[in-house]
Amino acid sequence: MQPTISELVNEDASLISRRCWSDEGVYALEKRGIFGKSWLFLGHESQVPNAGDFVQAYMCETPVILSRGEDGALYANVNSCTHRGLPVCRADHGNTRRFICPYHNWSYAVDGSLVTIPQESEVANRPDKSKLGLKRVPRVESWRGMVFGSFDEEIISLESYLGDMRYYLDAFFLRFPEGIEFVGAPHRWVLDANWKLPVENQLGDVNHGAFLHSAIIPREAQDIIEELGHSVVTAPGHGATFRLMPQDAPWQDVAWGMEAMGAILGGNEVQEYLREVQAHAAERVGELRARFKGLTFGVYPNLSFLWSNTSFKVSHPRGPGKVEYWSWAVVPADAPESIKKILRTNYSSFFGPAGLLEQEDSEVWTQQYIGSNIDFADDRPYYYGLGLGEEKPHPQFPGLVSVTANEFYARHFFLRWRDELMAAEAGL
């Protein structure tokens, strides 16, 4: 029997049913209630600087092409031919004037409009090509170069959707005069896990670090997080964690959060660069945010940002039990090439499909999915109650704030999730 959503997540989201992670019916509601109605991350403008540039993206399981049209505007279209549904673009990225479908060679402009139907000259009634373009993602907006799309025509603006998350994201973005850029193609890999666990992990679960990753992360890192760590929820499903470094902390302890290994392996050149960035941080982001040493951020529903290893990630569902995880290394756009290379390595050595730390994360996400499928344990929902009710507004930063061990980031995610799925359940 299909459980109802209100039975799966209790009123304060301190108890989360295993079925939330494993049930096909729940997943169908997630597609409609969340992925059909949210702003979803598509890519960064630095990936499509020129007319004709394109990159592939996904909105849940729907393949999408993000492109820069001849008119210089950004477009997102579903990668599926209007004639028989084949993908019209097979390359991961590139630059083109036309997407040509392999089957009957209908051709589409990079903005998705249908240009030619080779067979039409043979028939008397010519179809109206203006109605037969690729399915356009109705809303596409960008903020600080981050491009999002939504299938919901009525959705609020991207800026309002991000709300106070912009304050925290800007603590990173605005440190660099030219902003950031994405390096190369995303690393993408498939795991037997539910999409929400990578999201939850990056939304605020920094307290697994020194435990799960104790083979690599020293206990002292955890002590510092316990002493200086803050966890923030700006709106349900959006969160940020960071260390607020003391006013008199030496610059190398603050930098912009690039963690020890990367800075050490990078040698003097990186040290010098970090010092330079930190020297201008206060004038760029203000004295308070200059002391932020970020950990992980999340934007509802499935975008994550790992500040310490400079990576953006998207958790694309492939059913309740599979996820295609995408991650990009990001670098300050105006950094010298040599620094960019060190930064991308600081990401890929620790995160991504070969990452020393991510190896452990991938393992536990897979094992959690197995646990979420076992029988005779439905009366043991997962306990999400750590720190229940302890989050409070903060005199200096926006949002609700607490210690990082407080799982309120996850409870707020699931409260929003519950509302949106109940609406979908009611057919709204």
Partner: protein
């Protein structure tokens, strides 16, 4: 790679193959510390990403169109290789393997690799460029069995007492990465 392997004496060829068999045996019997001793301290160990590139119309009919190199985002380019590591990174990986809280290796994987197609491609003083192919079977409790397949593009330094690996580029054959990790020692 269209270049021919260069001429080697049967002894040299046999010595190279023996080196790679020994290395494979060390890795499959989890003697990672001993494996580390096969590297030079200035080793560069990389694994390019593979992307699905756009077919360039002007390259139609040319060999270039099918070139493997076009699909690779390697350490020299401005893309994002899967791995680009130094001795320190490899040391970290090796040390990690000996810790009980390396949960993705506990219990450890059972691996078996076949190394073949060993070709000496170039000789520069004490540095030799050597290609080899591998197939690696990987089984671990709680995980699917997987096979890794790829090519290794090595630079070996010929030192007294044998060879040392000074550079290794691992080109993995994959369309989608459906492997539990690419962080193994290949």
């Amino acid at each position: 790679m269209t270049d021919q392997a260069i001429a080697t004496s049967p002894e040299e060829q046999r010595a190279l193959e023996r080196f790679y068999y020994y290395e494979a045996r060390l890795l499959d019997s989890r003697q990672y510390q001993d494996w580390l001793a096969l590297l030079t301290e200035d080793v560069r160990y990389s694994m390019p990403s593979r992307v699905n590139v756009q077919v360039d119309n002007r390259e139609r009919g040319k060999q270039q169109m099918l070139s493997v190199a076009r699909e690779l985002e390697g350490p020299e380019g401005s893309g994002n290789p899967l791995r680009d590591e130094s001795y320190v990174h490899l040391m970290l990986r090796v040390e990690r393997a000996y810790k009980i809280n390396s949960w993705s290796e506990n219990p450890p994987a059972r691996t078996r690799r076949m190394v073949g197609n060993v070709e000496l491609m170039a000789r520069r003083d004490d540095e030799w460029d050597v290609l080899s192919n591998f197939q690696l079977f990987y089984a671990r409790p709680g995980s699917r069995d997987v096979i890794y397949s790829g090519q290794r593009n090595d630079t070996l330094r010929v030192a007294e007492g044998g060879y040392r690996i000074a550079r290794r580029e691992v080109v993995l054959d994959y369309a989608e990465i459906e492997k539990p990790t690419l962080g193994l020692l290949f």
